[in-house]
């Protein structure tokens, strides 16, 4: 018995089975999406290098999740909607307008890091101007908070929507349960996005849950639960857009589960050979790679050509390199400033 809607699943093909025009997307949109994904990927790779060179203490990756992240963010309205992303969501942040420079300030632990002034590790996002709420390390604490943010929008009669994400590991915590239940009762305009990559660090799905889909929990709260192929950006965009519209119409929250995969270790502190095979990873590095899938769609549908895509690559790399050079030279925070902002200053 299927109790969740399934979109794009079981059709894991190169490209997508959907047509972007039916989703209201222009070719220009597709290229922008492509650019965001490539930007996230290359920034990620360069960040890994920087960490390996000993220039950063910590690095955590979005690699493999780009379709999910960019697809979700593209369906939101930057500047108006609110975001409570989890630590992998580089693709979300870049899509809504956070710059590589800003993200690199966090990687290099620099004073002007807009998220935390280098108080927190990289990937603990936050961006006041873009309504990205400050995040922390304990997983899933952001879930009930997102419900509260959305409650406030609804309370004031505004039609902004709140995005909140977490891994499938995070769905095991009480915060998930309590946050979704509250949102369903009060029909808060919030979209819960579970990026299910099959592992909570090393713990595989069968030790995390006895069900196939996290989305199957939605029915127990009274909201739609949708499973989507998280490698296919068009499928992701489709379900996210529907959920956002539903929320804006005042019909309440949705739980979206994107089946995805992280193709690198959990973080710079992890060695994933301890718990998964190289063969398994390889699939997601090749045919199931989300960037490859969009590329295949773009080329297959003659929306663009290899050359143009390579141009995007070059341009993105140049942007990143410039940002790295810049960010690395920025100042460290001042030691004594660590005493500030325990409380508001007068």
């Amino acid at each position: 018995m299927s109790i969740v809607e399934r979109v794009g699943i079981d059709t894991r093909v190169a490209g997508s089975t959907l047509d972007h025009r039916q989703l209201g997307l222009t070719e220009d949109d597709l290229l922008k999406m492509y650019r965001c994904m490539v930007l996230a990927r290359r920034l990620d790779e360069r960040s890994e290098q920087i960490q390996r060179q000993g220039k950063a203490h910590f690095y955590i990756s979005c690699r493999g999740h780009e379709a999910t992240q960019v697809g979700c963010a593209y369906a939101m309205e930057a500047g108006k909607d609110w975001f409570l992303p989890y630590y992998r969501d580089f693709g979300v942040l870049l899509t809504i307008g956070v710059t590589p420079r800003e993200l690199l300030l966090a990687l290099f632990a620099k004073k002007d890091d807009p998220a935390s002034g280098a108080r927190q590790m990289p990937a603990h996002f936050g961006h006041r101007k873009l309504n990205v709420y400050t995040g922390s390390s304990p997983v899933s604490t952001q879930i009930p908070q997102a419900t509260g943010v959305a409650y406030a929008h609804k309370y004031r009669g505004e039609d902004a929507v709140t995005y909140v994400s977490f891994g499938e590991g995070g769905s095991s915590k009480g915060d998930f349960h309590e946050g979704l239940n509250f949102a369903a009762i009060w029909k808060c305009p919030v979209i819960f996005v579970c990026e299910n990559n099959g592992y909570a660090i090393s713990v595989g799905l069968e030790k995390q849950m006895a069900v196939e889909d996290v989305a199957s929990r939605a029915i127990g709260y009274g909201m739609p639960g949708v499973v989507v192929d998280g490698q296919d950006i068009l499928s992701v965009y489709q379900v996210m857009k529907e959920a956002v519209e539903r929320a804006r119409r005042g019909e309440g929250p949705t739980l979206i589960e994107a089946k995805t995969y992280r193709i690198v270790p959990h973080s710079s502190d992890d060695d994933d050979r301890l718990y998964r095979t190289r063969e398994e990873v390889e699939v997601y590095r090749t045919e199931q790679d989300p960037i490859n899938r969009l590329k295949f769609y773009l080329l297959g549908n003659r929306i663009t050509n290899e050359e143009h895509l390579q141009g995007i690559e070059r341009e993105v790399l140049a942007q990143i390199d410039e940002a790295i050079t810049w960010a690395e030279q920025q100042p460290d925070p001042v030691a004594e400033d660590a005493a500030r902002y325990v409380f508001a200053e007068e």
């Binding site: 009930p144 406030a152 239940n181 325990v342 508001a344």
Partner: protein
Amino acid sequence: MAVKTVLESVHDTLWKAMEEDNRVVIMGEDVGAKGGVFRVTAGYLEQFVENRVIDTPLAELAIIGVGIGMAANGMLPVCEIQFADFIHPAFDQIVSEAARIRYRSNNAWGCPMVIRAPYGGGIHGALYHSQSVEAFFAHVPGLKVVIPSTPYDTAGLLYSAIHDPDPVMFFEHKRTYRLIKGEVPDNLYKIPIGKADRKREGRDLTIFTYGLMLHYAIEAAERVAKDGISVEIIDPRTLVPLDIDMILESVKKTSKLLIIHEDNEFCGFGAEVAAIVADKGFAWLDAPIKRLCGPNVPAMPYNHVQQEWFLPGVEDIEAAIRELAEF
């Protein structure tokens, strides 16, 4: 000025603060139709719309977590935890989240919320409806911790708490709710968070205490006064920030310090007061710093005999005063 109980003082202050400012909402278990298990919010649901008097599911983590999100997005939530004993499921949201929203975002975000909870014993609440929890939260930088003990302080501090830009833990001793009465101005007013109050002037000995014990201490001080022992009583009113100056000033004068609280002694709040004075007030001390606190057992038992065994009473305080005064 009307004479009110502590309970009425909370009721009226919250009510007026909600009337005054739409951003203020209350949320918690049974705050709606029932008006709260102590009837603090009696009549609210009729007066305000349902989405300002939020009956939540039985889920403390969500009460705080959702409140944090509201606070991030322009509201001023006043979250009620039905009994302080039940605050622990929300410990992570309070300690890891609310307390450090500002710090971790380098001042980009704030968390203006109030977390109210009735605490304390003496009402046959047994192990789980009697506890004091202030020591946990006082240890957490980023939280303000307020414990008013009179109707007047309650109103002024609650109003300050609601408009404080940072999260405030607001603990009300449930035994004082109906027991303690006092004059309260009709209008809303603020008492600054971080200022202690000298509840009694004296020369021979300083008592630091708050909550129900404050009232017991006053009674004990009156008793010993007849024998010429002059006790000064400092009510901190807010444990964080703590008004260290007033404590030191008093110890400088009396040279003796007795710390009293209902919470168990070991690592209780009194330890911090003792530590501060043993450092900064060392030179003035004429006697060991004494603590009279709840015993180090998990909480007070239900049976009245054992409940009494747990709670420091007026006689115990009197005895402690006499002993220290004679030192």
